[in-house]
Amino acid sequence: MSSSHDDVVHHSADEAHDAHEHHDHHEHGPAPGLMRWVTTTNHKDIGTLYLWFSLVMFFIGGAMALVIRAELFQPGIQIVDPMFFNSMTTMHALVMIFGVVMPAFVGLANWMIPMMIGAPDMALPRLNNWSFWIMPFAFAILLSTLFMDSGGPAGGWTLYPPLVLQMGDSFAYVIFAIHFLGISSVMGSINIVATIFNMRAPGMTFMKMPMFVWTWLITAYLLIATIPVLAGAVTMLLTDRFFGTSFFSAAGGGDPVMFQHIFWFFGHPEVYILILPAFGIISSIIPTFARKPLFGYDSMVYATASIAFLSFIVWAHHMFTTGMPLAGELFFMFSTMMISVPTGVKVFNWVATMWKGSMSFETPMLFAIGFVIMFTIGGLSGLMLAMTPADIQYHDTYFVVAHFHYVLVPGAIYSIMAATYYWLPKWTGNMYDEKLGKMHFWISTIFVNVLFFPMHFVGLAGMNRRIPDYSLQFADWNLVASIGAFGFGFSQLMFVWIVVKCVKGGEKATGEVWEGARGLEWTVPSPAPYHTFETAPDIGPASVTR
């Protein structure tokens, strides 16, 4: 493909788009040079920034995971000091949660929500620019603590006092970074809520919105409700550490367990923040490749809302060993078990969508199916963890590590990869390399299971989490898990290669891209013009939009 041909295609697509919209206002493209990315208020540019940022952080967080797995490759302490090991587990979690999964979802929301609801941009474009650009600075501050004298945070991402208060002065940097990340998330969420409420094209009623828009609307509310709670908790840590208060110190009349209650009141909704947008992505992809409408759209919406509601009343299931009254333990056990009902409904709906469809298995569909199966495995171990008496045995072991990595890696991360393959042709105008994409899926899937499945066993057999060295009977499975980790980590370089290759060129994508695709984003040319839906599109029946 010559570049001149590229230009022609691109140009004619723009013209076609303009003509289609009968738009007399002159289409202006992005500003030239690097300043485009600094000053941009365009939802597509900002979406791209978020996605690249998240990809970079994915490799930073992944490198930390590999330090952990290298140390655990065999018994004994070979590579890092236990304190640095603890820093790695702490930072790995903070980076992966706040730097990878959340920004990737926000990036996808930026790109897709306006296009899905027929809006020209996000409702608050300048705020949008801010919410992105705060993040790189926040992470620069957070990561810089690793190079400070007193080291990075090493008390676990949950920041439990009194342990976290033993940290040196770099603690202040960690709190500052968390505040910044929180501000970024809340601003992004307000923007998404404002966009969905105010910018829908005429005729785009709530029950016509694609599931991805619905799940993000609910996620945004979770973020707005819980991030300030986290901000409060870490501020109290800050004053306990530096200003002599004793919110969490029993010696001063405080209560260390109160921190855990406040933290998990944020933390549990947070885990749904990390998975609800994934549900939306999967609900978009499976119908496309099954060539059949999503089964039970209404129940999907209600199930998502129920999960969000329940996520606020289950937090203490993270704390069954802290010494709660029996009534509390029973309540949190029952409420936690309840979550499996709406989650089950979602899984059943996806399976019913596949049933009697006409399926093909392109890379996005492979990742989506991988998601449904492996997320369900993580969901089932979650159900086991809900049982308080059994949880007392599982708590703080590798069984828990296996559980949440199953829902977050072949869960959340797979959904992000599925989304990338699914919408990449729309973003770049080029098809990605299907053969490499499939290879990426199969290699990742084999290694991710080699990595995380054995953790169930060592956890049940008694290996506790966050330890740099272990007893010899756990050696074999740790060796296997470490091999899985390196395999999975390095196979993600394929992903980068595939994305870069697709950005640079490839077979031209049509506007519709996928045979079975529905939704407004597929009605604009590929690549999507810099500005879309400056005139609101016509919305027909729901089957057009979702």
Partner: protein, 430 residues
């Protein structure tokens, strides 16, 4: 201790595992994959990959509950994944499948909401029953207070008046240090699982454990009793166990508690009542002797010898074996102002800790003799050569809040006070 009559979860090592260099480890993996996985012989039997059944009625019920939920989850998984796989085979475009257009069915949706609810209720009832039993602390026959420290446990038998500390076995502690060139195989399946002082408990008695901590949150976990409870500074938690069989049962601290979280094991030796009574008598005698030791005069050599052991258990984690610390994280003792300056300030630092750092107060974690010994050791080792010696009695006086002056005198006299001097000083106070 290492020949355990019963140690269920930590039973036999799967094979001879070795802390091998990389090529050897890979070779081992190759052997595993080639022969082991197929025959099922190389990896541990399934018993070692599952939750232990344990030796209390509660642990057996918890294990039963675990297996019940596990099988239910397997059944759910089999049905859901089975349908998916069938669908992926039958309804694929490449086989010429035509997509139908159905997208809702109220009946089906009600069914798959109600059926899971019924399954959940079926799971919740036995779970609640076990939980209620676990939380029933009534009629306990003896109480043991467990206090978590960075990084060891203190056990206090409230009725017997026995109190001691339990930390990772010294040899294993040396072996697990970075760069230690020690063969881990010699420790067999108890690597990182042996302690210096076991918690000895009688079988057949309902024992109540009271949990608290001195510095940060720890969590006392013995899988064979199915009990795990957080030790929280300033709070007391409780749980209980009635051990059915004599044996050695091992556990670990389950809550991240800082640098050496991975190195605070728990060993419980459960014995018949008579044997327990004998142990109690012996331990009480031992404690009397230890108390007597506090009041006698110690030579600098004795103190240094004991101090080296204490340093190796309580200080080495951060300050390292040669007192060099870890630059940027933990200060050195070698040549430090504290260890070469004012003796009382040194003792105060060890006893009271340093606020806002990982340096916790060892006032309660160490005995008078241990405190005196470790300070003496640190002031004479690592090239510090101050010649100072701290007498256990001086620490006792300081702890009891009397005789500040005594300490000053006995501490400041170099090299070390004579017995006569010390006796005079002490008698002066008394």
């Amino acid at each position: 201790m290492r020949s355990s009559p019963k140690s269920s979860a930590w039973r036999a090592p799967l094979r001879a595992p070795l802390p091998a260099p990389l090529p050897a480890a890979l070779l081992r993996l190759a052997v595993l994959l080639a022969g082991g996985l197929l025959s099922g012989g190389a990896f541990a039997g399934w018993d070692e990959l599952n939750m232990p059944t344990g030796v209390t009625s509660v642990s057996e019920e918890v294990h039963g509950l675990h297996m019940l939920i596990f099988y239910i989850c397997c059944a759910i998984g089999a049905v859901v994944f089975g349908i998916m796989i069938v669908s992926m085979f039958l309804h694929r475009k490449s086989r010429g499948a035509e997509a139908s257009d159905f997208h809702e069915s109220t009946t089906v949706e009600i069914v798959w909401t109600v059926v899971p609810l019924v399954i959940l209720i079926a799971m919740a009832i036995p779970a609640a029953r076990v939980l209620i039993k676990m939380e029933d602390f009534s009629d306990s026959e003896m109480s043991v207070k467990v206090t978590g420290y960075q990084w060891r446990w203190q056990y206090e038998y409230l009725d017997e008046g026995i109190s001691f500390y339990s930390a990772l076995d010294a040899e294993q502690n040396a072996a697990r240090q970075q760069g230690a060139d020690i063969d881990l195989d010699q420790f067999g399946d108890t690597y990182l699982r042996d302690v210096d002082n076991e918690l000895v408990l009688p079988v057949g008695k309902k024992i109540r454990f009271l949990h608290t901590a001195a510095d940060v949150i720890h969590s006392w976990w013995v899988p064979d009793f199915a009990i795990k409870k957080d030790s929280i500074p300033g709070f007391i938690n409780e749980n209980w166990a009635k051990i059915e069989e004599p044996g050695i049962y091992r556990g670990k601290c389950a809550e991240l508690c800082g640098r050496d979280h991975g190195f605070m094991p728990i060993v419980v030796r459960a014995v018949p009542q008579e044997e327990f009574d004998a142990w109690v008598a012996e331990k009480q005698e031992e404690m009397k002797t230890a108390e007597a030791a506090t009041t006698r005069h110690w030579s600098t050599e004795e103190l240094v010898a004991m101090g080296e052991t204490v340093h190796g258990q309580s200080c080495v984690g951060c300050h390292q074996a040669q007192g060099q610390g870890i630059p940027g994280m933990f200060p050195a003792i070698a040549g430090s102002e504290v260890a070469t300056g004012d003796v009382s300030a040194h003792l105060a630092t060890v006893m009271n800790g340093v606020e806002g750092t990982s340096m916790t107060a060892f006032r309660d974690a160490l005995s008078d003799t241990e405190l005196a010994a470790v300070v003496t050791y640190q002031r004479n080792a690592f090239g510090n050569e101050t010649g100072d010696a701290v007498q256990p009695l001086a620490v006792k006086e300081l702890r009891d809040g009397k005789g500040g002056e005594v300490i000053r005198q006995s501490l400041l006299s170099r090299p070390g006070p004579t017995t006569a001097e010390l006796d005079i000083d002490v008698s002066g106070v008394n």
